[in-house]
């Protein structure tokens, strides 16, 4: 069991391309931490630096308070599960799982015992004699995880392990990995671009963009209290709606949408912070679930005239895409599935103003 600490971690490739620009994260023992962000944000490079597969340009990686920058991957006592499984195609599942143990000179009966144990945890006992090409995507991923857990390492690293699986299998494997974490009680660092995976699996999430950790927090904290517009927009599906506008008023502050499509009172808890933004531009963020059908009972709602553009019935709810006034920009609302909005028709929606987030237009930081 181990903690992992990254101190001002930087990676610059030959030619001066910077991909990680100073990441500071502490991952506690037995914690499941997810690095999430869009392509090119530096999350995989960060993971590979922890693994020792990439040299660190600047900063330090500590495992159990020991700096491991100069240690080769094999001496860091970590195991990694790769996106494309990285199973040796000419070896059976058994040989794949046993490979690391054989290299480390484990006795034959110990190898047999450990491989069978790992296979039983992952439910792949009957597949041990097969080669990877005879396995489905999910079975391959299980075999790859088997290869990682059989060594009983201090830290597990997962590099987008579910990206190659279909949607249904991805959900299944997601819960299996979470269950595995509970069972093994080991530190796990998981990289994904999928915010749903991050939200559902992580004890703690590190949201990354442009080589920086934008915010490090627990999933719900991240969702409810995003630090900036990027995090607010990245976490949550469908994504948060953003409206540009200005703050007006003196005592009772009001947010006025810049095209004049609507205005709404600023919630009481935001007034103090927004006072200095009077007559200044801000961005207001509102999640799709905080936009309601007309007639909903809201203590602090703002009625807004919208035109329905597209509807996506999901079964239990309906994603409704609408525009405001003559704007072409589309916004999203999540309505319950009771009544289907009619495309092209006007719909008065209610914005739950108490749930609004405000961001500085220049820094994009939350106000």
């Amino acid at each position: 069991m181990a903690s992992v600490r990254l101190e001002n971690l930087k990676k610059t490739y030959e030619g001066g391309k910077s991909v990680v620009n100073g990441v500071d994260v502490t991952i506690e023992d037995k914690e499941f931490v997810v690095l999430v962000g869009p392509s090119g944000c530096g999350k995989s490079t960060t993971l590979r630096m922890i693994a020792g597969l990439e040299d660190v340009t600047e900063g330090k990686v500590f495992i159990d308070d020991k700096a491991v920058n100069d240690l080769p991957p094999k001496d860091r006592d970590i195991a990694m599960v790769f996106q494309n499984y990285a199973l040796y195609p000419h070896m059976t599942v058994f040989e794949n799982i046993a490979f690391g143990l054989r290299l480390r000179g484990f006795p034959k009966n110990e190898i047999e015992k450990r491989v069978r144990e790992a296979a039983s945890i992952l439910g792949i006992e009957e597949l041990l004699d097969r080669k990877p090409k005879a396995l489905s995507g999910g079975q391959r991923q299980r075999a790859a995880i088997g290869r990682a857990i059989v060594r009983k390492p201090k830290v597990f690293l997962f590099d987008e392990p579910l990206s190659n699986l279909d949607a249904k299998l991805r959900v299944q494997m997601r819960t299996e990995i979470s269950r595995l974490h509970q069972r093994l009680e080991t530190t796990m660092i998981y990289v994904t671009h999928d915010q749903t995976e991050a939200m559902t699996m992580g004890d703690k999430i590190v949201v990354m963009k442009d080589g920086f950790a934008q915010q490090i927090a627990e999933p719900l904290d991240l969702y409810n209290h995003p630090k900036n517009r990027f995090v607010a927009g990245f976490i949550g599906s469908p994504a948060m709606n953003f409206f540009e506008g200005t703050i007006a008023g003196s005592q009772n502050l009001v947010f006025k949408e810049q095209q004049g499509s609507f205005q709404m009172p600023v919630p009481r808890e935001g007034k103090r912070r927004l006072k200095s933004y009077v007559r200044k531009k801000v961005i207001m963020g509102l999640r799709p679930e905080h936009i309601h059908r007309p007639g909903s009972r809201l203590p602090k709602g703002a009625k807004v005239a919208a035109t329905v553009q597209v509807v996506e019935p999901m079964g239990n709810e309906i994603y409704t895409y609408f525009s405001l006034g003559k704007e072409e920009k589309q916004y999203t609302a999540r309505f319950d599935a009771a009544v289907m909005p009619i495309v092209g028709k006007r719909l008065d929606v209610l914005f739950d103003t108490s749930k609004a987030h405000f961001f500085n237009t220049e820094t994009e930081a939350v106000i």
Binding site: G52, L53, K74, M80, F82, A86, M91, L103
Partner: protein
């Protein structure tokens, strides 16, 4: 449907005719004359004489002796292919690293393959010259070793042929191995690094098994080409000199047919070569499971 079949036939017929003219007919003709007595005196009025030519090959003493030529052919083939593969794969492994000037090295190393064989053979023949050849000049000057009679001594002349053919043949194996190496996913090596594999573990357990499906057909081709390589032995040793001691089977066939005009005898040896290579190829491909994909 009928028109469609006719159209397909029309498309296939030209290639079939060409194949029949350049492959099937010569092959069948060769089989027929191997059972005949065609030679300089009986070019037109030859007769079928059954297995007599085959019996002659295997039982009657000849100059050079068939079995010693066959043995030399095996040595020639094995030694050449061995060095082609070892040098080719080693260079491919080096070129597969992040070397500076990699593309320059790659181009330079492919050069031997791009030069016509007869130019290489004649150049090497010149280089092996006792008095003025570059090789003797170098070994006497830099290694302080007496000059070697490369082309007058049977063993040395055969070694000279092998050196020439090794130089000519390694780029093919190098290019094939390089292609195979580049298709191995980098993640496999990274997974092995995490597992604590050293470079020789990775070579033995990842690289070699994964380039095998590509290398086995290349080696099979290499064996067939080398076994049948007339140019080098013929040109470097100057038609099997000294005294027909450097022959391999194909140069022996060529000399029998076009210097001694024993056409049927040469055709029968050709059939022996065909059977040897066919048997080898089938057995080698089957035993090495070359047709099974790795991924």
């Amino acid at each position: 449907m009928v028109r469609n079949k006719l159209f397909i036939s029309l498309l296939v017929i030209p290639s079939f005719v060409i194949l029949a003219a350049v492959v099937f007919y010569p092959f069948v003709y060769n089989v027929v004359i191997s059972f005949a007595n065609m030679n300089l005196y009986k070019i037109h009025d030859w007769n079928l004489i059954g297995f007599k030519q085959y019996i002659k090959i295997f039982t009657e003493p000849s100059q050079p002796d068939f079995y010693s030529v066959l043995f030399k052919t095996v040595i020639w083939t094995f030694t050449n292919v061995f060095f082609h593969v070892v040098i080719g794969v080693s260079l491919a492994l080096m070129l597969n690293q992040n070397l500076k000037g990699r593309s320059l090295f790659r181009t330079l190393l492919i050069l031997p393959w791009a030069i016509p064989q007869y130019i290489v053979a004649l150049t090497f023949r010149g280089m092996f010259n006792y008095e003025y050849g570059a090789i003797n000049l170098m070994i006497t000057k830099y290694l302080n070793v007496p000059a070697v009679e490369w082309l007058k001594d049977p063993v040395n002349a055969f070694v000279a042929c092998i050196i020439t053919n090794v130089w000519l043949g390694f780029p093919f194996m190098m290019v094939i191995a390089l292609g195979a190496l580049q298709s191995i996913p980098q993640e496999l090596y990274e997974a092995a690094d995490m597992d604590g594999a050293k470079w020789y573990h990775k070579l033995r357990t990842i690289t070699l098994p994964l380039i095998r499906p590509v290398m086995i057909p290349a080696i099979t081709l290499g064996v067939i080409w080398t076994f049948n390589n007339l140019n080098i032995v013929w040109l470097v040793s100057n038609m099997g000199e000294p005294s027909d001691t450097t022959h391999i089977l194909v140069s022996y066939v060529y000399k029998s047919a076009f210097n001694y005009y024993s056409f049927s005898y040469a055709a029968a040896i050709s059939m022996v070569i065909f059977v040897i290579l066919l048997t080898f190829s089938l057995m080698f491909m089957k035993s090495s499971r070359a047709t099974e994909p790795a991924y």
